[in-house]
Amino acid sequence: MTGRGQARTLGRPPLVLLVPGVLAATLLVVPLVTLVVDTPWGSFLDELGTEAVRQALVLTGLASAATVVLCVLLGTPLAWLLARVEFPGRALLRAAVAVPLVLPPVVAGVALVTALGRNGVVGTLLRDTTGITVPYTTTAVVVAHTFVSMPFYVLSVEGALRASGERYDVVAATLGADRWTTFRRITLPLAMPGLLAGAVLAWARSLGEFGATITFAGNYPGTTQTMPSLIYQALQSDPEVARTLSMILLVVSIGILAALRNRWLTTP
């Protein structure tokens, strides 16, 4: 039956649900509408063309693309291990993987500095052995983005791997397939929707990443200044520019949402 027909027979929604519901919707919608309305559309294209914006856009694009690639290459095997292999501490590892989901990004940044900073545990070792220092480089941006995006990817893929089940792994084994063949030809194709959703989530998280990046990589135009960092900087000097830049990210976000609408926006 349609919702409309049910509303007629079951009565009107009670105010105690209606009022908070409308308030919530207002809170979500109004800031976005005002952003769209107040964006200085006249200078929109001019702003897009400035050196700082161009650099930040390119860096954001590259960093988010690199992040997705790293998530897929490293996160897929991790998700498989969590979903398919029993090892001591698996539950603990799964919990650890999920921590960056709820960790304040600035704390993530501090953690990265502690590990990979010039005087960090791993950072010192890296500098002494290879001469490489990570902080305040584009690499640091990618590392920070990967750190905060990976959990989204891994948990999404692990869920998909669990859903497709070990059943087909067993069938493949009875047909003589080794685990790599099974992963490649059976497990991965069956989990593909989860992989795609995870990649989009990771990419979206990377696009908006600010706190960990600015803490670990800084805010240098051309090397570590991504769109969110540029917006933050612009807001302190020229709010109009900040609004224009925000608008660009909003459009990209809505694009992602549109890509995922079949997954989350369709009502059952």
């Binding site: 069938v171 084994a173 009875t174 003589g176 080794d178 063949t181």
Partner: protein, 329 residues
Amino acid sequence: MADDPVTGLVADVRVEGRLDARIEARPGEVVSVIGPNGAGKTTLLRALAGLVDAAGEVSVGGVSWTRPPRLVRDRSLGFVFQDQSLFPHLSALDNVAFGLRSRGAPRAEAARTAGEWLTRFGIDDLAGRRPRELSGGQAQRVAIARALAPAPDLLLLDEPFAGLDVGVATALRIELARHLASYDGIALLVTHDALDALTLADSVLVLDEGRVAQTGPPQEVAARPRTEHVARLVGLNVIGEPEAFRSFSPSAVTVSLTPPAGSARHRWHGTVLSAAPHGDAVRLLVGGEPQLIADVTPAATIELDLTPGRDVWLSVKETAVETYARRSP
């Protein structure tokens, strides 16, 4: 049973609390595995395949699968699962080709061989279809073809006709009989159906509570069942005595409302549990010690008012009872 066990299957497998069974079979032999639910039939197949941890030994064609232990993928076997378990993202052809490619066949050759198998099962026109576009019977044909295509030494079929319509199952049973006749490996067929056990198999292995209760040619097992389950499957009454089993047909049973006169040896008192049409007769299930089945005429059913709950006496003439030793000779 196995004249030349070196080339056949010799297995002695134990799964804690579920199974302790020994089985031997010759190459080309089809063994049907029957027994009540929970008797360990599926566990036996999974133990042979290496899908459950099992103690004991399995050797096929003179090669041990357990010393040293072989991974599932290194055992030359085909497994037909109850629910088919076709790979949902692969076409029928690719499903059948999967095992061939896993075992090293080049892509083109695997596809060609898989196509031949689909042709053999009369479903070559469905080669491009995904499993969800196949009917139950078609999917089960693909599953059997997939298991047979790599020419395994051991074929394990776990209730391949379960969940299929009766007509479909009958057609598939006839086809499977043909394929098994030309298959030179060993086939183990788990079934709930006496017809499968009797028509498809060269020998029958009866499992009961995880142990082998009886083995032998189908006719022998059907004529002289040693478990109540098999007796019911083949429609016989069987009574276990300390040294022997005694079996008799339900049509040899006389039903009366008063204790029958004459020889007192074969008479029992019980309550009618159910009455259902069986061919031209009505088959009664009578609860008592033991539980027995009796076939009576519809006229007698009405005359004696043989409805559930009715107290009756059953008797059978000594000449209608077959007696055989408890242990296989």
